[in-house]
Every structure is written in structure tokens, then in C-alpha cells.
């Protein structure tokens, strides 16, 4: 599904990632873990085109997406969420999800401004689908509320709902459980499984080890910009190098 081939990223003189290669299987939940500064978010930023890697390639399926602009990835089915929740605060919850349907609609400025028949039909479709995703994530009751007034936990879910609306093949989640209480985390785990069951591959960066060990099929460990290990949760838990990276040096 997603394959990274020898990704290296150098900021100024600072090497953030060195020759990181990894593969994410279709329909899996893959966790990316590692101590702070390991380069996890940098990796996400490279995959989603926000950073350009110094060398190496990114493949989505068979397609080399190394030089693709961020906005063109959604149409290919690759989306992400953010560590510090990037909601469209001044819009309603429903509208937030409707933005997710941007790539699923075509109307241009002219037909939007003059409300041409095709556009009206499309708007209906957008609203219906958006509601569907709110139901899917359990946020439907909040649909007309302003996104700014949403409690933090629901904000995280809304961000996920928004990416679901893109109908992606692959979602990258950047610390989806950060700031959630244990009950919310449990709900999140349920939701992530449900997403995977609907045929979407999930990659998540996470610090909450219980969650990672609980839901992930495979785990990749980064440390100091290098891939330290990869394997099933059990393999990782027993990996000496991983243990020392977490307990020893830091």
C-alpha cells in the first residue's frame, strides 16, 4: 500500500531522517513509535508532501508520489490528521466534514455563484455524505455546532470524520490519542478498528503504548531518525534495541 524507500531528510545541517525504508500493508493498522525527536512527524510531513525529502522515494501502491503536492494526494486517497488538531474553527461541524468532500465534487466558481442546477444537486450529495460520516463517527448530534465550541476529544474525532469524507485508501493519524482521557481513548480505538474494517488502511504515530499495542497489526520504531525495528506488537515488545532506546538512553 505505502512504501518508503530510503528516505533521508536534512534540515540545514541537521539530519532528521536517515535512510528510512518501510512498508505498510493494505488494510492494516500500522503504528509508528519512537522517543521524542525520532522523526515521526517529519516522516508524515514528507509522505503528505509538506516537506520535500532530501533523498529517497515514497510510493503509494505502484505510484511514486515523492514530488506530489499535498493537495493532489487527497484525490489519490492519502490523507492525514494533525498532532495539534487543525479544525476549521469558524465553520460548523457539518461544514468541516463537507470540506472533506471537496475532491468528490466539481462545481467551479461560476456554477457555485449562480447556483446552476448541477451545483444544487451536488450540494445535496455533499450534505448527505457528510451526514453519513458524522453518523459513522457518532458526531451527528453536533452537526450544526461551531467547531470551535467542540470539546477537545470530539475535535479529534471530527478531524478523523473529515478525512473519512475524502473516502481515502490510507489515513495517517498524528498522535490521535494525545490529550484524550481513557474513556475517549477506548472510543477512539473502537473507531479506528471500524475504519480499518471499512477497508481503509491506517498509519498512526502514537505515544500511548497501550493503545498502539492494542490496535496495531504491525509497528515500526524510529529512533534518532533511523528505523530501529519493525514487526508485530509482540516482536517489538521483546526487541532489545527498542527497549534500550526507550529505557536506556532517554
Amino acid at each position: 500500500m505505502l512504501r518508503l524507500d530510503k528516505i533521508t531528510k536534512i534540515f540545514g545541517g541537521l539530519t532528521a531522517l536517515t535512510d528510512v525504508s518501510l512498508e505498510v500493508r493494505k488494510d492494516s493498522i500500522t503504528g509508528v513509535i519512537g522517543p521524542n525527536g525520532a522523526g515521526k512527524t517529519t516522516l508524515f510531513n514528507i509522505v503528505t508532501g509538506l516537506y520535500t525529502q532530501t533523498s529517497g522515494d515514497v510510493y503509494l501502491g505502484e505510484k511514486n508520489i515523492s514530488r506530489f503536492a499535498t493537495e493532489s494526494l487527497a484525490a489519490l486517497g492519502l490523507v492525514r490528521t494533525f498532532q495539534n488538531v487543525e479544525l476549521f474553527g469558524k465553520m460548523t461541524v457539518l461544514e468541516n466534514v463537507m470540506v472533506g468532500l471537496h475532491t468528490k465534487s466539481r462545481s467551479g466558481i461560476i456554477s457555485c455563484a449562480f447556483k446552476l442546477p448541477g451545483q444544487i444537486k451536488e450540494e445535496k450529495m455533499i450534505a448527505e455524505k457528510a451526514r453519513h460520516w458524522l453518523e459513522f463517527t457518532g458526531l451527528i448530534a453536533d452537526a450544526p455546532n461551531s467547531a470551535n465550541n467542540l470539546p477537545f476529544g470530539k475535535g479529534r474525532i471530527l478531524e478523523i470524520a473529515r478525512t473519512l469524507a475524502v473516502e481515502p485508501q490510507l489515513i495517517l493519524m498524528d498522535e490521535p490519542a494525545a490529550g484524550l482521557n481513557s474513556q475517549e481513548t477506548t472510543q477512539l480505538a473502537v473507531l479506528i478498528r471500524k475504519i480499518r474494517e471499512s477497508g481503509i488502511t491506517v498509519v498512526l504515530v502514537e505515544h500511548d503504548m497501550d493503545l498502539v499495542m492494542d490496535i496495531c497489526d504491525s509497528i515500526i520504531v524510529l529512533n534518532l531518525g533511523k528505523k530501529l525495528a519493525a514487526g508485530t506488537p509482540r516482536e517489538i515488545q521483546e526487541n532489545k534495541a527498542v527497549i534500550s532506546a526507550y529505557l536506556g538512553d532517554s
Binding site: E71, S72, F88, G108, I109, E123
Partner: protein, 324 residues
């Protein structure tokens, strides 16, 4: 759906009010003020698409207004073109210019964008001023013909009122429609978090340029109508000050609020009337208005006043409750 119905109702009432207003103002000077309010509303709504929806500042919008006015003025006075035809050319030319400069300019963000648009505005102003042979230079271009539809010449306040307000209403309707469409949502998403919008597949770069272009076209239409209403134009009306005035209108009315833009345009057009009593104080009031609005009513006058009203009502209610 009720929200949409309410929206339609509000627009209907607003349109009705606009259409019947002249019957109460026969022969009054205020009709003339309303003509200018119409032009300013058009400009403010156009700028609001960029500033309020897409969150991109422009401190050079008077240049587009001026360019529209000058293209229309020059084509009609020097080449004898029909004003309508000139208006269309002005709109197309402005759109083309905005599209071309839009790409490099809108790559910039925040303060740099502000400065670049300001620079653009000043360069255009210098061009209006210095190309004397074409524009008439600082002393202006006079003798611009009125707009005409067969034998109906728009040469008095009443006729101009209807001409300008019908187009203004169309521009408002256009903008309201836009705000409730995928384009409007995408623009507002860009304003809130450009990176999140891009991740969802919104092509921010192109969309920003598109809305910049639309905004420039609206400004050009306003400029052209201004030229044919005034029948005289000079560079002084299209300088940096007017760009700031336009931004002030949008800020006062509230970012992203179409009726707010009307309110802002109306207030800023009428304000000098009240400030006349204050003589030279008006510039100070202006500066204060900008600062206070941005600090204490970032949502604009409508939402600011609503909040204050709610606060007062709340106070009264709670006091009433205590007494009871």
C-alpha cells in the same frame, strides 16, 4: 434547510428595502449618498471574498477599482466605445491582471502579502498619475459618458441608484451563494488552516488566485460604474488611503459577512457627514475605529453588537431572576 430559507428571506427583504427606498427620498441628497454606498458595498463585498473568506489581506484593492475606472474612462472618452462594452473590457482586463500577478503575490503570507499588495497599489497609483498622456494625470480625466440603455441615459441619482444597486444586489447574491458552496467552504477552510485544507485536497494556491481574480473583477465593475456615474475620475480617489478605507469597511462589517460589508460601506460613506462637525478630527476617529474594532470586535459590528446586547439582556435576566 430552514437556514437556507431564512437566508433567502433575508435577501428578499433586503432587496425589497433597496428597491423601495428611493420613494421615501425623492429629491433628497441622500439618494446620491446611497449611490456611493452601493459602489462601496460592491467593493467591500468583493474584498471580503478575499479578506473574509480566504483570509488573504490586500492593501492594494483601490488599484483594481482605479484600473476598472480608468480602462472604462479611457475607452469611452478616447475611443468612443459604448460604456457597457468598456465595462466588460475593464472587468476582463482586471481579471487577467489579477490572475497573472495572483500567483506570485498569493504565495506570500501575512505581513509579506500585506506589503506586496501595498506595493502593487502604489505602483498602480504612480502609473495613473504619471501616464499623463493616457490618463490625464493628476488633474484627472473628465467628460466620461453616462451609461445608456437604448434611449435611457443614467444621468441622475435615481437612475444611477437603480443601475448600481441592481448590480450590487447581484454581486451580493453571487457572494452569498458562493459562501454556501464547496468553493466558499474551501476558502474559509484555507483561512482557518491552510495546511489542513490542502490535506483534504483543496488546491489552496489555485483557489486563492481564483478568488483574487473574482475580487478584482468585481472591483473593476465597481470602478467602471463609478467612472460612468461621476463622469470624472482622478488618481486621488484610488490611492493607498482608499485601499485602507476598503479594508476598514470589511473589518467594521465583519470578516466574511456580506451584509456586514454593506453596513461597513454605509458607515464609512456616511461617517464623514457626522465627522464634519469634528472638522479635522476625522482622521483620528478613523484610526481609533480600526484599532478598537480589531481589538474588541474582531467579528465586526453586527456580531459585536449582538454580543453586547446578549450580555446586557443576560444581565437583566439574571437580575430579574434574583429579584423573583
Amino acid at each position: 434547510m430552514t437556514k437556507e430559507k431564512r437566508e433567502i428571506l433575508i435577501f428578499f427583504i433586503f432587496t425589497l428595502a433597496v428597491l423601495i427606498t428611493p420613494f421615501f427620498l425623492q429629491g433628497s441628497y441622500f439618494l446620491n449618498v446611497l449611490v456611493f454606498i452601493g459602489i462601496n458595498t460592491m467593493l467591500a463585498v468583493g474584498l471580503n471574498l478575499l479578506l473574509g473568506y480566504a483570509g488573504q489581506i490586500s492593501l492594494g484593492h483601490a488599484a483594481f477599482f482605479g484600473l476598472g475606472a480608468y480602462i472604462s474612462g479611457i475607452l469611452t472618452t478616447r475611443f468612443g466605445l459604448d460604456p457597457w462594452f468598456a465595462l466588460v473590457i475593464a472587468a476582463v482586463a482586471n481579471g487577467a491582471l489579477a490572475f497573472v500577478i495572483g500567483f506570485p503575490i498569493l504565495k506570500l503570507k501575512g505581513h509579506y502579502l500585506a506589503m506586496a499588495t501595498l506595493g502593487f497599489g502604489i505602483i498602480m497609483f504612480i502609473i495613473f498619475n504619471e501616464t499623463v498622456a493616457v490618463t490625464g494625470g493628476p488633474s484627472g480625466l473628465s467628460g466620461i459618458p453616462n451609461i445608456q440603455i437604448s434611449s435611457l441615459i443614467f444621468d441622475n441619482d435615481l437612475r444611477n441608484y437603480y443601475l448600481i444597486w441592481i448590480i450590487t444586489l447581484l454581486v451580493m447574491l453571487f457572494s452569498i451563494n458562493l459562501s454556501h458552496s464547496r468553493i466558499g467552504r474551501a476558502l474559509r477552510a484555507i483561512a482557518d488552516s491552510e495546511v489542513a485544507a490542502r490535506v483534504l485536497g483543496v488546491n489552496a494556491r489555485v483557489l486563492k488566485v481564483q478568488i483574487f481574480t473574482v475580487s478584482a473583477v468585481i472591483s473593476a465593475i465597481a470602478g467602471s460604474l463609478y467612472a460612468h456615474t461621476m463622469t470624472f475620475i482622478s488618481p486621488a480617489s484610488f490611492g493607498f488611503n482608499f485601499s485602507i478605507e476598503l479594508v476598514t469597511m470589511v473589518i467594521i462589517g465583519g470578516l466574511g459577512s456580506i451584509y456586514g460589508s454593506f453596513l461597513g460601506a454605509a458607515i464609512l460613506t456616511i461617517l464623514p457627514e457626522f465627522l464634519r462637525v469634528l472638522r479635522d478630527f476625522d482622521i483620528i476617529v478613523y484610526g481609533l475605529l480600526l484599532i478598537i474594532m480589531t481589538m474588541y470586535m474582531p467579528g465586526g459590528l453586527i456580531s459585536g453588537l449582538t454580543r453586547i446586547a446578549e450580555f446586557i439582556v443576560g444581565k437583566i435576566k439574571s437580575r430579574g431572576a434574583r429579584h423573583a
